[in-house]
Symmetry: C2
Subunit: 185 residues, 2 copies
């Protein structure tokens, strides 16, 4: 959809909080109210853009998975790397989808891609769950760590300019995580 393309481009140019129906319309070469026809309001357009964001998010993780060695720990590192790839390559989309603003959760596309992203995490974690512990415990542990790392790097970047630069590399954090999993399993 051309309007979603325009929206993504707009976010990239102007920042994650500068989305505008009218500017999207102008960018796509249609009249100012055309977006209101396809998406009933700005939440609708935002949701479509967020769905696109989650799709790219999934692709980034899957791409790293395909190139990964088959060992479970390698695969876990791979999806984390994919997570960070997405945040690095699409910082505005990353902030946009995790901005806390309301999306239309009943939107089919949106629901599809958000649940797919969690499924990737779940399946990659599965072989690493220590006996007798709730899988969700490890999933949230991993997801919190990588999400927190990426999100802090983007939002507090004055003190720490740029994801990775000036920060400990994520692989060192991953090392600590693996130690914790070994100690539990």
């Amino acid at each position: 959809m051309a309007l979603v393309d325009a929206g993504v481009a707009l976010l990239r140019e102007r920042g994650p909080d500068k989305l505008s129906l009218r500017e999207c319309a102008a960018k796509a070469g249609v009249s100012h109210a055309a977006p209101g026809y396809h998406f009933k309001n700005i939440t609708g357009l935002s949701t479509a853009i967020a769905a696109r964001g989650f799709a790219l998010f999934c692709e980034a993780m899957e791409k790293r998975l395909e190139a990964s060695a088959p060992a479970a720990t390698e695969r876990l590192s791979a999806i984390c790397q994919g997570y960070l790839d997405f945040a690095t390559e699409h910082p505005e989309l990353f902030l946009f989808i995790f901005s806390g603003q309301k999306f239309n959760e009943t939107d089919e596309d949106f629901a599809l891609h958000t649940s797919r992203s969690y499924a990737i995490l779940r399946e990659t974690c599965a072989p690493l769950i220590p006996e007798g512990t709730d899988p969700e415990e490890i999933e949230i542990l991993v997801w919190s760590l990588v999400h927190g790392y990426a999100h802090l790097a983007m939002t507090r970047k004055k003190e720490n300019p740029g994801l990775g630069r000036g920060w400990p590399d994520f692989s060192t954090l991953m090392g600590h995580l693996h130690k914790a999993l070994q100690a539990s399993g």
Copy 2:
């Protein structure tokens, strides 16, 4: 400052992306352009509100620290609990200060409270740094984990309604973290 109070109340009522100079003015009982005098633009007001947010953030951590046992691991758990207290009690402020929007980083108040929050983290981590490892590595490890946990809980709350409810308690994640630190030290 009454306008900042009004702004915080507005965020609480309407959500973290619904701040408006004119509505703040109305809430504070002044004319629509009065906020433009005190803060030269909406970024100025946002920065003042974010500074207030970081101050409350620091207070939440310090309050838990005062009630904590003196052991270093207890103190680390305490600031994490304070972190989560803040996110729970001021969800809109939490999302607002970590929204990724630009603040005026040269603002004195803002700089003071943001650096104070990082200093609390740094000092609490200090006794736990394993010999020969970069302190920042552990600081970012801890901060990423607790921030990721809190932020995911707030932004993806459809799948996981409410911080804590339906999620593994943070103390279990903290347990894994301590294991990792023991394995390193």
